[in-house]
Symmetry: C2
Subunit: 202 residues, 2 copies
């Protein structure tokens, strides 16, 4: 009986180590590499060709979603499980579009991780049930420009500063923000940025 070989990616070293310890306790699993960012994760998967990649989303450089996308693009046999803090419909949608096999929340009991690994290894998809319904309910109504402008606005940049960074005129920036606010039903730019972020659209 060959063990399930796993690569783990997570940017907080202590959490990474702890999850590694958790999985190492399972007799039928073997953690073959630990990665602290998306680039390391991608490299580790390419050299070790594990059955399973478990990856966080928010990591420096490449995000976990981008890693899953890249693997899907190169037709890797490794199945990706996204493990994240955030129950954001947009994240799940992007995960499914990247052909991820699992989407798990860090909120869930620790036992569910090993269980999910086994189910995915057996060819089942595993998705946090509280999100399954939401995923396709609302799609991101924002254009790419609106997202860029919203991101900066959410960080406290003034219109003039956003305009300078994106090489737009200030009026255009205000127009994009106004559009985004009305699409999202927000009363101001900050609220709009928070709403979009909560949905996983930024």
């Amino acid at each position: 009986m060959k063990p399930i070989r796993i690569v783990l990616a997570e940017d907080q070293a202590m959490v990474l180590g702890a999850l590694g310890a958790l999985l190492a306790l399972e007799a039928d699993m073997q953690v073959v590499a630990l990665a602290r960012d998306g680039a390391e994760a991608l490299a580790a998967v390419r050299t070790h060709r594990p059955e399973i990649l478990i990856t966080d989303i928010e990591m420096p450089g490449l995000s976990g979603l981008e890693v899953a996308s890249a693997l899907h693009g190169e037709k890797s046999a490794t199945k990706a499980i996204i493990l994240t803090t955030f129950a954001r419909p947009g994240y799940l949608r992007r995960a499914l579009e990247a052909n991820a096999w699992g989407y798990l929340l860090k909120d869930k009991p620790a036992e569910e991780l090993a269980a999910a690994v086994r189910r995915v290894h057996a060819g089942q998809r595993v998705v946090a049930p509280e999100l399954a319904a939401d995923a396709w309910s609302e799609h991101d109504p924002l254009t790419e420009r609106e997202r860029q402008v919203l991101r900066l606005a959410g960080e406290g940049h003034a219109s003039s500063s956003i305009a300078a960074q994106l090489e737009l005129s200030e009026g255009t920036v205000r127009n994009y923000l106004s559009e985004a606010m009305s699409k999202l039903g927000a009363g101001n730019r900050v609220e709009a940025a928070r709403m979009a972020r909560a949905k996983g659209w930024l």
Copy 2:
């Protein structure tokens, strides 16, 4: 040789379980309880009277800092180690004021957790070195009102909404924000809120 008895508190169940697994691997340690929020942590410490409490800061209800404070107040023999994502001087300062024995970052390698537990158990204080210098460098210049107003402003509330929630006049709210912005050197309310949050003042 009696084991070091530990209570662990952390709101993300999977991380909690994983850290528990990590510490359970250490022969000289015993995890006697897991808590998912501050209230549970406090209760667990009171009933189990462990040598060590390891706690996250950001948890629903009571924060880890408030738990440490409460234990200090009731002269508990349990030594608190704060384990957090955030390298914020204000957090460390509050931890030290609450007489915490350790302040560790989740960024650090997993081995450091057990090492810190042993050092704290032996009577040493353990503080993430990159923060030691910063802790007393800048003190929070904001008044309580300014903090309240900044929190709401950072969430995207308009002055009128903040005024309604805090039962202030709108002009007063703008004055507080203006004051806070000038104290922090920020160009607008959002930037001010972000700066204060980054320092651990909110």
